[in-house]
């Protein structure tokens, strides 16, 4: 099992998936609805998690 590849790919997939929070976030502004912060925090946390995951794997790879 190649854990590095799996983590790297999952990180990227999470980062891409976090984009799906942006259209609903935009709608909260357009229609002035509540709940925008939920989509914003979800987007930030997932993209950050995904980003850290990818960077961590790449950093470890550059050390080997």
């Amino acid at each position: 099992m190649n854990l590095k590849s799996i983590l790297n790919l999952l990180g990227i997939l999470l980062g891409i998936f976090s984009i799906s929070f942006l259209p609903p976030l935009a709608l909260t502004f357009i229609y002035q609805e509540d709940g925008g912060e939920i989509f914003l925090y979800s987007f930030l946390s997932l993209s950050l998690f995904g980003g850290i995951d990818v960077v961590h794997v790449k950093t470890r790879r550059s050390h080997t």
Partner: protein, 427 residues
């Protein structure tokens, strides 16, 4: 170790990534549902997310018409992302990593009966799939818009229609629009999304626009839909359930297509239909869509092989010494493939029985439990009895069991079950 070697995936990694993709995304996707103030507990939020990402379309949310547009669009987007699936996402991502993705392609499309890539290079395949998927979505949204839907409804419903999902922005689903034009567009795109993307590819990029008409699996799928429509019309006429031939025909066509393609849109509560019709539709959903499509179910090609094999066995009983071959169209079916199909079916039945007993154990009545497991395992959505309109009647444990069923169905059982075998971890 070179970068290429460092990131090489083997078949085991493919299974793990495919499964993790659905599980992690379902968990992440449940965050807005849990915190949005929809009065959903963890199991209900997870259920909604799993239902979205697996394109099942079962819901625990009521009062959709009064919900903010942002959360409604989010539900639809979840289905669209799920429909695109790992095949498009991972295949599009992996070339950027410089690693091979053949294993993922294989596990994402376990229904594939030819194991051939759509094009020699997997990156090209991803691009082609994206183009087809996005093209279908845009076309659907445009036609919905022309039919009189608001721009929001048109976009939202195109996302779930092309994904074969069935989520709507209204409690009455497609029935809210009360429009034959809308229903017609929905029927066309549900059928297109139930067709193999390999067939779409051949028709659009391969210069074979008539491929739909001579693909054996798609023809068989359409035949089954046609038979269910004919039976439904006959029962409606005999039971005097509707007044007017147009109403009878349009209702029968819409629901037969919606349920058998495992989309799950409705214009009315079909569980109240006369006689055996609700069960007939549910049985149709067990077959489901074609391989390499966004639909669920056992898949038409497997059913076709099982019918062929059964017919062959009957002939062998009459002519014990005859040498017979199974065929789909002009293709001869290898005995190993037929064996795999029967293996899949036996595990499918075993899993179904296990999940049914588990759901009965949560206190659900037999009809509701049977249809809930069938609707979730086949990624259909609406069931019968207490789960005909929504899944609020299901207990927290029951919802978690059904989440497992939906993911099992989306991964066509083997991909997930293989992780529970000791042999897999000894590799």
């Amino acid at each position: 170790m070179s970068r290429q070697e460092d990131l090489t995936l083997n078949i085991s990694d493919g299974f793990i990534i495919t499964t993790l993709f659905w599980v992690v995304l379902a968990l992440a996707g449940s965050i807005p549902f849990y915190f949005f103030g929809l009065d959903l507990n963890f199991s209900a939020a997870l259920f909604e997310s799993v239902s979205g990402i697996t394109t099942t379309g079962a819901t625990t949310i009521t009062g959709l018409d009064s919900l903010p547009k942002s959360i409604l669009l989010y539900r639809q987007l979840l289905q669209w992302v799920g429909g695109a699936g790992l095949i498009v996402l991972a295949v599009a991502v992996m070339p950027a990593l410089g690693i091979g993705g053949g294993q993922l392609y294989k596990t994402e499309l376990p229904g594939s009966h030819n194991n051939q890539k759509l094009t020699p290079r997997i990156a090209d395949s991803a691009q082609a799939l994206w183009k087809i998927y996005v093209g279908l979505t845009l076309s659907c949204a445009l036609l919905y818009g022309l039919s009189g839907m608001t721009a929001f409804d048109a976009i939202a419903h195109s996302l779930s229609t092309v994904a074969g999902g069935g989520f709507s922005t209204h409690d009455d689903s497609i029935g809210f629009f009360n429009s034959g034009f809308v229903e017609g567009i929905c029927i066309i795109f549900m059928l297109l999304s139930a067709a193999s993307f390999a067939v779409h590819y051949a028709a659009i990029f391969g210069g074979k626009p008539l491929k739909y008409f001579y693909d054996a699996e798609f023809k068989f799928f359409l035949s089954v839909v046609g038979i269910v429509i004919a039976i439904s019309i006959l029962v409606f006429l005999l039971s005097n359930s509707y007044t007017g031939l147009y109403s009878i025909i349009s209702t029968a066509i819409f629901h037969a297509v919606s349920i058998i393609t495992t989309s799950g849109f409705t214009t009315e509560n079909f569980s109240l239909w006369p006689g055996f019709l609700p069960y007939l539709l549910l049985v149709g959903a067990f077959m489901g869509a074609c391989s390499q499509s966004v639909g669920g179910g056992i898949k038409a090609w497997r059913v076709l092989i099982m019918i062929n094999q059964a017919y062959k066995e009957i002939l062998k009983t009459i002519h014990p010494n005859a040498v017979l071959t199974s065929k789909i169209g002009t293709k001869v079916i290898d005995a190993k493939i037929a064996e795999k199909v029967w293996g899949f079916f036996s595990i499918y039945v075993f899993i179904f029985m296990f999940l049914l007993l588990a759901m009965l154990g949560t206190g659900l009545d037999f009809e509701s439990a049977f249809s809930a497991v069938g609707a979730c395992l086949n990624n259909l959505g609406p069931g019968l009895g207490e789960v005909a309109e929504n899944y609020t009647a299901v207990s927290g444990i029951g919802k978690l069991i059904l989440c497992f069923a939906m993911i099992l169905g989306r991964l066509e059982i083997f991909t997930l079950l293989v992780l529970f075998t000791p042999a897999f971890w000894r590799r």
